[in-house]
């Protein structure tokens, strides 16, 4: 049971040691230039490959989950975004899904109460945790553009200003925190990852379904956030040198400046591993959500015909075969038939006809 997260934890610790030892051995070029480039390339190519691979699979049927009243008679209120009938309504449904995790918001928790009554209460923590995690991560990513752009664009500065809205400064000669200004996103990211990890450990059902590949990204991201926070607030590094390195990468003039601490290389290595791991993992839900056939299709399935690219003819039991088998019985009860049996001479044909009724007994 514990093996699943222990292995992930040990893996991340090993990754940490690799980066640490590599830096100590003077392999800055490897960890600061070669691995990041390779990881980015792998990320982009891998991502495109996975999505193209999905796109090569057909969408034979239109099978959206209809989560609300369909569009029918005019006096029934159509649930436009839960049962979208047009492409634009689908766009809104998808946007709500991707930007607000709408389906997750519906989450309930089942409880079996005294006296055998089942209850389903709103369970909002997973939604809050997931939203906090993803938006904090996004804010952190955007903020990091300050290391990858020169001059730093206005929207990055805007995000920085919003992110550092709360000023917390704890300044004692022995312990200092909060200079430079605290970015909430980093802290939220760390807490959200911790929450997502802890619920995997402490919610029995979730623990039961969790795999090593569920814990690994959490540990890795925890490592990334932690090293980032350490670098910013505790074990300071020379930021301008760090940016000199990152700018070197994105302007294709890679350099290894002096004075960038080991912790920076560990941080960068963790990020590289995450990028390289991304396309081969469940993290691809980033791309997959866009291609989910239960969400991204219109529900006007009776209004517009959907074409199945591999639709092939199948053997069917035709009316003629049916009538041939049951003609006499049909006539008996006055059902109209296509072919009236010829009055007398048909008798010779009778044995041939008998073959089919032989199967009759099987069915009852």
């Amino acid at each position: 049971m514990n093996a699943r997260y222990m292995v992930s934890l040990v893996t991340v610790i090993v990754l940490f040691l690799i980066a640490w030892a590599g830096t100590a051995l003077g392999l800055q070029v490897l960890f600061g230039i070669i691995i990041p480039y390779a990881a980015l390339l792998l990320f982009i190519v891998g991502f495109i490959y996975r999505v193209m691979n999905w796109s090569r699979s057909a969408v034979p049927f239109r099978i959206p989950t209809t989560g609300g009243q369909h569009k029918s008679l005019p006096w029934f209120t159509h649930a436009q975004f839960d049962c979208p009938a047009t492409k634009w309504q689908v766009v809104v449904r998808m946007a709500l899904e991707i930007l607000t995790f709408r389906s997750l918001f519906r989450n309930t928790r089942m409880k079996l109460k005294e006296g055998g009554r089942l209850s389903y209460q709103l369970e909002i923590f997973l939604w809050v945790g997931a939203l906090a995690f993803h938006y904090a991560f996004l804010a952190v990513l955007i903020r990091h553009l300050r290391f990858f752009t020169e001059p730093v664009p206005f929207f990055v500065q805007l995000i920085e200003n919003i992110d550092s809205f709360f000023r917390v400064e704890i300044i004692y000669p022995v312990f200092k925190f909060g200079i430079p200004g605290v970015f909430v996103s980093g802290i939220v990211l760390l807490l959200a990852v911790a929450y997502l990890f802890l619920r995997r450990i402490f919610t029995p059902q979730v623990r039961y379904i969790s795999l090593a590949s569920d814990y690994f990204p959490l540990f890795l991201i925890f490592g990334i956030a932690l090293t980032g926070i350490l670098m910013r607030y505790i074990t300071k590094i020379d930021v301008t040198s760090a940016k000199a390195l990152t700018m070197g990468l994105v302007t294709f003039r890679p350099t290894i400046p002096e004075g960038v601490g080991t912790i920076f290389y560990i941080h960068l290595f963790f990020v590289s591993v995450l990028l390289a791991y991304f396309p081969f993992s469940k993290l691809m839900h980033l791309g997959g959500i866009f291609l989910s056939p239960t969400r991204n299709l219109t529900t006007d399935t009776r209004t517009k015909r959907h074409v199945n690219p591999w639709n092939y003819p199948v053997p069917v039991h035709t009316y003629e075969e049916y009538e041939d088998e049951f003609r006499d019985k049909m006539i008996e009860v006055g059902l109209p038939v296509e072919k009236m049996p010829e009055p007398e001479p048909v008798k010779e044909d009778a044995p041939a006809k008998d073959e089919t009724p032989a199967e009759e007994e099987e069915k009852e």
């Binding site: 796109s55 553009l145 300050r146 730093v152 300044i171 590094i237 020379d238 940016k243 004075g259």
Partner: protein, 129 residues
């Protein structure tokens, strides 16, 4: 638009976003700004702490100084080397580093940090532009 085209369009948008830093900078070199010292600073040879320490942690040192001066009224800073300094941004730091635009601002801009030192210390008489 056919579904295939939509997927490809989506992927193009993805690549454009992910590679933003690569095309935004147009490959223009952006090395770290050089440290420019005034003659006075050069002559002094050493700062209150080592250069490496100052690069990474000057903001915290200044904050400590501020607390010490404003809240405790203590103005004397004893460096690890035993030397005593008067704790003052305007009168101590900027005495040597009087070239704020070159010495302070260039790196701050480069790293996109906007320290609030200058919210108060704006009319520093010693500053020369």
């Amino acid at each position: 638009m056919s579904e295939k085209k939509l997927i490809i369009l989506g992927l193009i948008i993805f690549v454009v976003i992910v590679t933003f830093p690569l095309w935004y900078n147009r490959g223009k070199a952006a090395p770290a700004p050089e440290r420019i010292l005034t003659d006075k600073a050069k002559a002094a040879k050493v700062c209150v702490r080592s250069t490496d320490y100052m690069k990474a942690e000057h903001m915290q040192l200044l904050d400590l100084w501020r607390d010490s001066v404003v809240r405790q009224g203590t103005r004397i800073y004893v460096s690890p080397s035993g030397k005593e300094y008067n704790m003052s941004l305007s009168n101590r730091c900027l005495d040597c580093h009087s070239n704020k635009a070159e010495f302070c601002d260039r790196c701050h801009n480069y790293a996109s940090v906007r320290p609030y030192c200058w919210d108060c210390h704006i009319d520093n008489p010693k500053e020369t532009s």
